[in-house]
């Protein structure tokens, strides 16, 4: 695919140089966060007057950060489970069927992520507290997060269905397998890596979400992004926040690694010419 010779040499060189410059611009701020987590100056003066591991130790012992991390993991897991169920069901329903509401359904699935988070957040807050009179809690956060996570699973599963067609399942049915057996032995294994990829994205979206969370969480519930935002402007907490930020930057490589592994193995597992 790549390396067309139709573009002139000069242009190809310019595009490459441009890409390199923008990548530098993308990574420098992240490296700054990493470096500042070792900065002895707690207002992050540049260049750093000295390096220390002190803030890492303080951050490690911070109960607030640990609790917030745990809360975020719980919320992201629960939202992902809901998104997996609803996203898969929706993708299965829209498969092989062309009915009038098809476009409406896909638009409805995209909508929560296409509208700004502040709209989704305020709409749920208003629904829960003003209209229904339910107090805000972790459950309301999970409901709101799951809503915009459905699209990640739906998109992945739908793309997989489109790519694979229905011949495998038809073969299974022709060979006498029932609907459930076919689902268990053919459809599900075929979807497994798409489901994992969707779940990974959904977990990441929920874990990072701050706007919708601000609007739907009770004052006692603190996810990690909420904790970071609350401590960002406290002078003596800023270095600890920076360490947590640095950890998150490093951890962001994990899902990328997993996703690469997934897409790599899937190319091997399904040999479609």
């Amino acid at each position: 695919m790549a390396q067309t010779k139709t573009l002139s040499r000069g242009l190809r060189g310019t595009l490459g140089a441009f890409t390199a410059v923008v990548l530098v611009f993308i990574y420098v701020p992240l490296l700054l966060v990493l470096l500042n987590s070792f900065n002895t100056d707690n207002t992050f003066g540049w260049p750093p007057p000295g390096l220390t591991l002190h803030w890492w130790k303080v951050a490690w012992e911070s109960q607030g950060a640990r609790d917030a991390l745990w809360t975020s993991v719980k919320v992201a897991c629960a939202a992902t489970v809901v998104a997996l169920l609803l996203g898969t069901l929706a993708a299965m329903a829209l498969r092989r069927t062309r009915f009038f509401g098809r476009n409406v359904v896909s638009l409805l699935i995209i909508l929560p992520i296409a509208l700004p988070g502040i709209v989704t957040g305020l709409a749920f807050q208003n629904e829960f507290s003003t209209i229904l009179g339910i107090g805000l809690s972790l459950w309301t956060v999970i409901i709101a997060h799951a809503t915009f996570c459905i699209v990640t699973v739906f998109n992945n599963v739908q793309a997989r269905f489109q790519r694979l067609g229905t011949s495998f399942e038809q073969a299974s049915m022709d060979l006498g397998a029932g609907r459930w057996t076919t689902y268990r032995l053919v459809t599900f294994p075929m979807l497994r890596s798409a489901l994992l990829a969707g779940a990974l994205l959904s977990f990441g979206l929920s874990f990072d979400e701050i706007v919708v969370t601000t609007f739907t969480a009770s004052p006692h519930d603190q996810t990690l992004p909420l904790w970071i935002l609350n401590n960002l402007f406290r002078p003596n907490q800023a270095p600890v926040v920076n360490v947590v930020a640095a950890v998150l930057v490093v951890l962001s490589a994990v899902p990328i690694y997993l996703a690469q592994r997934l897409s790599g193995s899937q190319a091997e597992a399904i040999n479609i010419p």
Partner: protein
């Protein structure tokens, strides 16, 4: 039985997601519109279910809100343009110039910052732009200075945050442009620039629009980046945020929130016409 009644099968499969999205989510949006037509008792802070257009009257007639609305839409548009201009050459390099190996590495390089926390990235720019940060440190010897915290900082930071959302769909769109088309154009005497302008750009346009849905919508509702690097400036999101919660004026916040909803519905309708929704 399910095999003979495809309608029933679709119905059963669709019921749970449609209850969630159609009833809970659309219901919440509808309730938001209804609430924007209510009012709040200034003394008790309770929401009173009296129908009125006052919130909208206030939104459209008070100068501050009009300015903030226009400023927000302007910033969202500017961020989208900046991201499109930055993303297109990178996506073109990834899809049509880089070797398969470099291509894979570049996709990873673009994806990784997407997973780094939003707050961390906004916060990183607070560090970059601060008066004794690296930008000031580099610029000072040249007699220049950091832009500091304010609207330019908001535009830089938002463009930074949403850039991968633009690169990835455009890259996917360019991947689908067959090389043979580029060759045909060059065989017919089109130079590189002509090929890009008359063949590649028109074909990548739906993908650019698809990416712009994210950059535009995410900028339109943002209020946290503004808090972190925006100094004292305000966007629509800040107005919504400041008016929400029991102690404040939720009906007015709801009225303000209808602005991004209307803008995005119009935007999505336009995007649909150029076929961008299939590229999401």
């Amino acid at each position: 039985m399910l095999d003979r009644r495809p309608g029933l099968r679709v119905g059963l499969l669709l019921t749970p997601p449609m209850l969630w999205l159609g009833v809970a989510y659309l219901g919440a949006l509808a309730a938001l519109l209804v609430t924007s037509l209510w009012t709040q008792d200034d003394f008790t802070g309770n929401i009173e279910r009296i129908w009125t257009l006052d919130n909208f009257r206030q939104l459209f007639t008070v100068d501050v809100y009009r300015t903030i609305t226009l400023r927000t839409i302007g910033i969202a548009a500017l961020v989208t343009v900046v991201d499109a201009v930055l993303a297109f050459p990178i996506a073109l390099y990834m899809a049509k110039v880089a070797s398969p190996r470099t291509q894979r590495l570049l996709v990873i390089a673009v994806l990784t910052p997407l997973w780094a926390s939003y707050l961390v990235k906004a916060y990183a720019w607070r560090g970059m732009l601060s008066a004794d940060g690296p930008i000031a440190w580099i610029a000072n010897p040249f007699g220049l200075d950091t832009p500091g915290y304010g609207l330019p900082a908001v535009i830089i930071t938002l463009s930074y945050l949403w850039l991968p959302y633009m690169i990835l769909p455009v890259y996917a769109g360019l991947e689908r442009v067959p090389d043979s088309l580029l060759e045909a154009s060059s065989d017919l005497g089109g130079g590189s620039w002509t090929t890009i302008r008359r063949v590649v750009l028109p074909m990548a346009f739906p993908a650019l629009v698809a990416g712009s849905i994210f950059t535009f919508s995410l900028s339109l509702g943002d209020y946290i980046t503004v808090q972190i690097v925006g100094g004292t400036s305000q966007l629509l999101g800040n107005v919504v945020y400041d008016n929400q919660g029991a102690a404040n004026n939720l009906p007015f916040a709801a009225a303000v929130a209808t602005v991004p909803i209307v803008v995005m519905v119009v935007y999505l309708a336009l995007a649909r016409r150029v076929g961008a929704l299939e590229d999401l």
